[in-house]
């Protein structure tokens, strides 16, 4: 019986993978459902097991079974690793994704699983923390805080109980690495969390997954059940979010797990000292924790050898939006933005010129092609007024209206704000109103109230375009420096970068001309 491998990743399923799998099963094949390798242009992808290894075809439809099985199908790729999209990747974290049956413990073992945990348990807690420190691993959720230092704090804080919390509330638009890993290699995350538990002395972990990820929730729950004895006495539980973006903020996430309204906590105290239920808590992103098994199995140096500047190791970069080769690309830090967009991504799907890319989700800055020389590196991006975030890249062609995108950033903030701090709660709504006026070229005239004789201090003159833009910049300043968390604090990045790099979209020229006429 011929064995074929077909992804059941949510994206592959959306592209028709289930129907393809059924067709192969009907044809008598043994179908192994795997995760996705990560290039969506070739999904649904079918890999046929042959004496020379797996031979890949994609995309494949349900009617293509015979052609695939007899080798005549036109989308024959050959060995997937030789595909241009994969050939230069450095798959430290995603090594098994697309290769193994995600829930097969034997597959996991055969492909190097548990080696990290075994290595870790042979070490003292401090040695494990030291290894993570030496690897240079930084928080992959976006903040880039050194993971080992966070763990050290938790290890050093005495408590009767500690927790490992995995942030799998992957809410950024254009990001999907957490989901792919949880669907495609759940034991990798479990292993990483178990190592973290050993490293800091935590007995229990929680994985907080957004409700929009039903496949990942199911996969993680099943994987936890199957691997319970392997990670004992460490225990794990999946907690499902309720649709709030802000619960991806670590302290709001902790409140949500505790059954409270998801609302950001002020820091200090740091979660590492007073986290879940007030106990010392490691809270890391999926990708941070999933990088740990490699570090322990292969040695910290192997991980640290890859990278750029202070950004060590690999980053699973997610390329999305209006792009030809959308997907997940894991590679060491340092690759340029232009290489990612135009080289690996292959430019826009529409074929029109790239006008802007947004890096780091809805709170990331927009970059014009003039900045494509930037190396993918925390510091380089920060210096350029942007951020890497969760390494999602969204590509836009020249039909994009950047003022509209700036408005979207404010609107997103207004919709998702928890409402705790004032700059975010009120500022985002005022921001939407303000950008609407700017775009409509309708600077605010004095309101009915301001023109009343009882009101003396308000300006009665209509605002100018420049004054409105200045107000927008002031508002962004208030939000950036005044907000409690990154939601309000980072919303100015897309707004200001759009304003700085694409001022023409904000009607400045037109407005000035009109004023002159």
């Amino acid at each position: 019986m011929t064995r074929v491998f077909i992804s059941k990743d949510m994206a592959s399923v959306a592209l028709g993978a289930d129907a393809v799998a059924q067709a192969f099963a009907k044809a008598g094949c043994e179908v192994v459902r795997t995760g996705s390798h990560g290039l969506f242009a070739i999904e649904p992808l079918v890999e046929v097991e042959t004496s020379e290894g797996r031979v890949a075809y994609g995309p494949v439809g349900p009617d293509d079974v015979a052609a695939v099985l007899d080798g005549s199908h036109g989308t024959r790729i050959g060995a997937i690793a030789d595909h241009p999209f994969f050939v230069r990747q450095q798959r430290f974290t995603f090594a098994r994704c697309g290769v193994t049956d995600p829930l097969s413990l034997s597959d996991y073992g055969v492909h190097g699983g548990w080696k990290g945990l075994e290595a870790a348990t042979a070490l003292s807690a401090q040695d494990v923390v030291d290894a993570v420190k030496a690897s240079g691993l930084r928080g992959r959720g976006g903040a880039g805080f050194p993971t080992g230092i966070k763990w050290q704090t938790v290890l050093d804080t005495p408590a009767d109980e500690k927790f490992i919390v995995c942030n799998a509330d992957e809410g950024d638009s254009g990001t999907f690495a957490d989901r792919m890993l949880m669907e495609g290699d759940p034991y990798c995350l479990i292993e990483g969390m178990a190592i973290a538990g050993h490293a800091v002395g935590a007995g229990r972990g929680y994985i907080y997954i957004r409700s929009e990820y039903p496949f990942a929730i199911e996969a993680m729950r099943e994987a936890i059940a199957r691997s319970a004895s392997r990670i004992a006495p460490f225990t794990l539980e999946v907690r499902v979010g309720a649709g709030a973006y802000v619960c991806g903020e670590e302290t709001a996430l902790l409140d949500s797990i505790e059954g409270k309204r998801g609302q950001v906590r002020a820091k200090p105290p740091l979660p590492a000292i007073e986290g879940l239920w007030g106990k010392p808590t490691v809270i890391n992103n999926v990708l941070s924790l999933a990088a740990v098994p490699f570090i322990l199995a292969e040695g910290a140096q192997s991980y640290a050898d890859v990278g750029f500047g202070r950004s060590r190791g690999t980053m699973p970069i997610q390329i999305a939006g209006n792009v030809r080769n959308g997907g997940l690309y894991e590679v060491g830090f340092g690759v340029t933005l232009g290489e990612l967009v135009n080289g690996i991504g292959g430019g826009t799907a529409s074929g029109r010129p790239v006008r802007a890319v947004q890096v780091g989700g809805p709170l990331g800055a927009y970059f014009p092609p003039s900045m494509f020389h930037l190396p993918f590196d925390y510091e380089a991006f920060a210096q350029a007024g942007g951020l890497i975030g969760h390494a999602g890249i969204t590509v836009f062609d020249d039909s994009v209206d950047m003022a509209h995108m700036a408005r979207f950033a404010m609107e997103f903030c207004a919709v998702e704000s928890c409402g705790k701090c004032t700059p975010c709660r009120i500022g985002s709504t005022r921001g939407v109103e303000l950008i609407d006026r700017i775009v409509a070229k309708a600077p605010r005239a004095a309101g009915a109230l301001e023109t009343m004789p009882q009101i003396r201090n308000a300006s009665r003159a209509a605002r100018t375009h420049d004054e409105e833009v200045e107000l927008l910049r002031d508002l962004c300043d208030t939000m950036k420096h005044g907000s409690l968390c990154a939601l309000g604090g980072f919303t100015p990045y897309p707004v200001l970068s759009a304003l700085d790099h694409f001022p023409e979209d904000f009607g400045g020229g037109d407005a000035l001309r009109e004023a002159a006429e």
């Binding site: 200090p268 005022r430 004095a446 409690l484």
Partner: protein, 946 residues
């Protein structure tokens, strides 16, 4: 005192090691854990703030308090950032000013602009901070999305919620969570749509809100504001005084406008309440100026005549003449007096002095007779003094809290909030109570063990717990060996070890599974610091004194007396019940609990008063009433107590009063007892006099006059008028002189005087040479009596038993919004929460009787019958019914019997065998009593209308 707002440091005090830092160039040293905001406030640098207030944990939401810290990125919030050694902070820079103005600009873009007509005008933090940050213009304008159309919630009678004025700082929500512990408020929605919601977005009145006022106090704007401020304007002066409701003894700032009280605001420095309050003390003071207040003295020849208003001279002269006439006719001991736990220490002292010096006998008693007299007896016997062992703050150190026969969330709400705070921190809770009181399970609180015993089986239950502790080897042997009387212990240990006293043996009797009792006993004995809090569910039984001693035994056996977080703590019912007892209100005791038969003590008083004292103890209240019906007791002076409504077996009380020739009642209102009175002397409220109250933790606190008495005299002055009319020649011109006399004559009060109270705010007795700073905790190294005395507490079932005629057990209690006989609270809007007493009955018992929720039922005991409406609930166990006694129409005490505590005559209110049947309306007694009351309250005005 002029009106100044209490200083707000922004965040609570910390207590870590000293940390030095620099703020705006000024070096200072503060405890580690202090926020930058608080540290700055300590050196008079007030960083702008809105969401921070020092009664609540920092929150960090308003973002006005941003500062710059050398070497740190960004602009951290000073409220949530703790100080660090060597830190250099700047609180005012151009950048900070711009950021703060930016935040304020956002606030004001969504806020009404009618400051001048706003009820918080001049007392609004938003207004203050807008000024502080220099906001001059709102560039966003006022026509963006906003909350200005929100509807006011005026459901609560005492405060109004105006969502348009709300800045969503969450101070109200946090106050409800942290300060009150009810968790009734939340923020509903998110982002710009965030709004404050009570319960499931209900109005305040129908929500879980208990109207404690903490949210109103916390609100920085007029979003939550007292209706009295809306009506009267902001106050212009404030006087700190002590609440006259329960025994917690909260101190308040009475905030005044001229002679008018605008609001009562709990005082942050109050040692008993720490700035918290309940619906009674905070809001229910309107009775003080209620139209029902009687302000002129009245006299009548007989109780079927209408009252006749007379001058003070005439009334006082009449009282003196009558009392002397009666004594001449029937003997020295034919009259007596009752002191009030509602009045000040000084007034109480004077009433007992009037009786002992002026009447020449010891016929003085007090309402403590019917509440905590067993506490006095039980704790004096076992520990050596008649008082709780701890201060309230001690509960913050408790690991296990045992609540028996008390319902603190209703009866002692402010202390309950402090207790709940500790429980939320993880202390374990054991509740022994027939009812499922709120503490058993409420938000973030759940009792580890609830032992819902049958009423009347306390002694058996506590002895069974002792059985477990002794037989399972959980006794603190070293403590017992060193601190207690060993022979008494050995005898007690043998007694409780008997298998007949095991939890298994009494399971059928108490109805509580033995395993639960064992588990509770183990937890109490081994869970760390274990504190017992009890109330009238312990004392008001035929074995009340035994129960108090059984409690003391448990505490001694486990080493839980004399340390923080432990102890035996009676929750006193009335504001000054502790003080009334301290002041010598009992017939057998002079002030400081010294027996009247002790010649040396008597000599001390005799010398000071220039009178000879009767060495024989006088009559207790029930004995006075008995003697009255026997014809040997003919006159009584009752100050501030409504014995007809509050004492058991109303018919017996009525008969006793009716048999007297001169009943003098001094009260604010024509109470029920006054229906049988011949002279009515109007009383004054706590707002109208100076004096002191002593709360349940022995804390003596000043009561300060904030307005002139409506009736012309404070109560102590009236007593002095009577005394002088009887020829005693008193010359007090201020209550401080009375306190000086008390101190002179009472060793435990030797160091107490008004100067010390003014200086320290409050002191806890004993305060004398041995304890110059007073005594927060008693029995630290040794018991007051020397060795702790274990007392064998044999369980003797009450004679009050259920049978075929009376198959249910009635137990009585209180409710949060009403206070005792309700004389005050019924004359306030608190009736919105509790307009009538209802009978709680279990669904099974209701079903059997065909009773539906809200039906009128007849409640009958062998003593009498009354009717009230039923409330069907499983808070009571099958076989048990429960009601309150706040409303005179209910006449709950018509039902209660004259059984009482074997040692102290404290009535057995908590156990009455009753039957409940459907009914159509009031009982015959209720009808005839209502007629009598109406007739009796007629007042003939001095000059009839033309």
């Amino acid at each position: 005192m002029t009106f100044t707002r209490e200083k707000d440091f922004g965040t609570p005090a910390a207590s870590g090691e000293a940390v030095s830092l620099t703020i705006d160039g000024q070096e200072l040293t503060v405890p580690a854990g202090t926020s930058i905001m608080r540290a700055a406030a300590m050196v008079e640098t007030d960083i702008p703030k809105l969401c921070a207030t020092d009664s609540l944990e920092s929150f960090g939401s308003c973002r006005l308090c941003l500062v710059e810290i050398e070497g740190r990125n960004g602009y951290p919030a000073s409220c949530t950032t703790p100080v660090a050694p060597g830190m250099v902070v700047r609180t005012e820079t151009d950048k900070l000013r711009k950021l703060r103005r930016g935040v304020m600009e956002l606030y004001i873009s969504d806020h009404p602009l009618d400051c001048l007509t706003c009820s918080a005008n001049g007392d609004c933090e938003l207004q203050d901070q807008a000024g502080a940050v220099g906001l001059r213009d709102v560039r966003f304008g006022y026509e963006g999305e906003n909350h200005l159309e929100g509807c006011k919630d005026e459901s609560n009678p005492y405060f109004t919620f105006d969502p348009a004025k709300c800045i969503v700082c969450s101070r109200c929500v946090r106050a409800c969570d942290e300060t009150q512990g009810t968790l009734a408020l939340t923020v509903d929605g998110r982002g710009f749509a965030s709004k404050i919601a009570a319960s499931q977005d209900e109005d305040f009145l129908s929500s879980e809100c208990v109207s404690c006022g903490a949210c109103v106090q916390a609100c920085p704007t007029s979003a939550l504001i007292e209706n009295t401020v809306i009506e009267k304007g902001t106050p212009d002066r404030a006087v700190v005084t002590t609440c006259a409701y329960c025994g917690v003894g909260c101190t308040f700032r009475a905030e005044m406008r001229g002679e008018e009280l605008v609001r009562m605001v709990p005082w942050k420095d109050g040692k008993a309440n720490h700035g918290h309050s309940c619906v009674k003390g905070r809001f229910a003071w309107g009775y003080a100026r209620h139209n029902d207040r009687i302000v002129n003295p009245m006299v009548r020849g007989s109780v079927d005549e209408p009252w006749r208003e007379v001058s003070w001279e005439e009334a006082i002269g009449h009282v003196a003449r009558e009392f002397r006439r009666i004594q001449n006719a029937y003997g020295t001991r034919s009259i007596g007096g009752i002191t009030s736990s509602r009045c000040t220490n000084e007034e109480t002292f004077l009433v007992q002095k009037l009786v002992r010096q002026g009447f020449g006998n010891n016929n003085v008693d007090t309402c403590a007779r019917v509440c905590h007299s067993p506490t006095g007896y039980g704790l004096k016997t076992t520990f050596g003094t008649s008082a709780g062992t701890q201060d309230f703050d001690s509960v913050q150190h408790a690991d296990v809290i045992l609540v028996i026969g008390a319902n603190p969330t209703d009866g002692h709400p402010v202390f309950a909030s402090h207790m709940k705070r500790r429980l939320r921190q993880g202390a374990k809770l054991i509740v022994i109570d027939p009812r499922r009181i709120d503490l058993v399970r409420s938000p973030h609180i759940e009792a580890s063990h609830h032992l819902p015993l049958r009423p009347g089986t306390n002694v058996a239950m506590l002895t069974a717990m002792a059985h477990v502790i002794v037989t399972e080897g959980l006794v603190d042997e070293a403590y017992v060996h060193e601190r207690c009387d060993r022979d008494a212990y050995a005898e007690w240990a043998e007694f409780v070890s008997d298998p007949s006293r095991s939890p298994e043996a009494i399971e059928e009797l108490t109805g509580v599974p033995a395993q639960e009792v064992r588990a509770a006993a183990r937890l109490y004995a081994t869970g760390g610091n274990a504190a017992i809090y009890y109330g009238l569910g312990v004392t008001e039984h035929s074995q009340g004194s035994s129960t108090v001693m059984a409690i003391a035994n448990l505490a001694m056996a486990t080493g839980n007396v004399g340390k923080e977080g432990a102890g035996v703590n009676p929750l006193r019912g009335q504001n000054n019940v502790q003080g009334a007892c301290d002041m010598g209100s009992f017939p057998h005791e002079l002030s400081g609990y010294r027996h009247i038969s002790d010649a040396e003590t008597r000599a001390l008083f005799e010398k000071d008063w220039g009178a000879t004292l009767d060495p024989e103890p006088g009559l207790r209240i029930p004995n006075m009433l008995d003697a009255a019906t026997d014809g040997t007791f003919k006159g009584i002076f009752i100050q501030g107590e409504d014995i007809l409504q509050s004492d058991p077996n109303t018919r017996h009380v009525a008969a006793g009063l009716a048999a007297m020739e001169c009943v003098v009642v001094q009260d604010l209102f024509l109470n029920e007892t006054a229906n049988y009175a011949h002279v009515f002397l109007p009383g004054s409220t706590f707002l109208e006099k100076d004096g002191t109250f002593t709360n349940a933790e022995r804390r003596i606190q000043l009561v300060r006059k904030v307005m002139e008495p409506l009736n012309g005299y404070a109560d102590w002055e009236v007593v002095q008028l009577v005394a002088n009319a009887m020829g005693l020649g008193w010359g007090y011109t201020h209550p401080s002189q009375i306190m000086d006399e008390i101190a002179r004559l009472t060793p435990t009060f030797a160091g107490v005087n008004y100067d010390a109270l003014e200086q320290r705010g409050s002191v806890q007795w004993p305060m004398n040479e041995a304890a110059p700073d007073g005594t927060p905790m008693m029995h630290i190294d040794h018991f007051v009596r020397g060795k702790g005395m274990f007392v064998v507490t044999d369980y003797v079932p009450t004679d009050e038993r259920t049978g075929p005629r009376f198959p249910l057990l009635l137990t009585t209690g209180r409710i949060l919004s009403q206070y005792n006989v309700g004389a005050q609270t019924r004359r306030t809007a608190n009736v919105d929460w509790h307009a009538e007493d209802r009978l709680e009955i279990h669904p099974h018992d209701a079903e059997n009787r065909g009773v539906r929720d809200g039906d009128w039922v007849s409640l009958r005991s062998r003593a009498g019958e009354t009717t009230l409406r039923a409330k069907i609930t499983d808070r009571v166990a099958p076989g048990v019914v429960y009601t309150t006694f706040h409303h005179p129409d209910t006449q709950a005490n018509v039902i209660t019997t004259d059984f009482s505590d074997w040692a102290t005559n404290c009535p057995e209110y908590k156990v009455t065998a009753v039957q409940v049947t459907p009914s159509n309306g009031p009982s015959d007694w209720q009808k005839s009593y209502r007629e009598l009351a109406e007739a009796s309250r007629r007042i003939e005005t001095a000059e009839p209308a033309e």
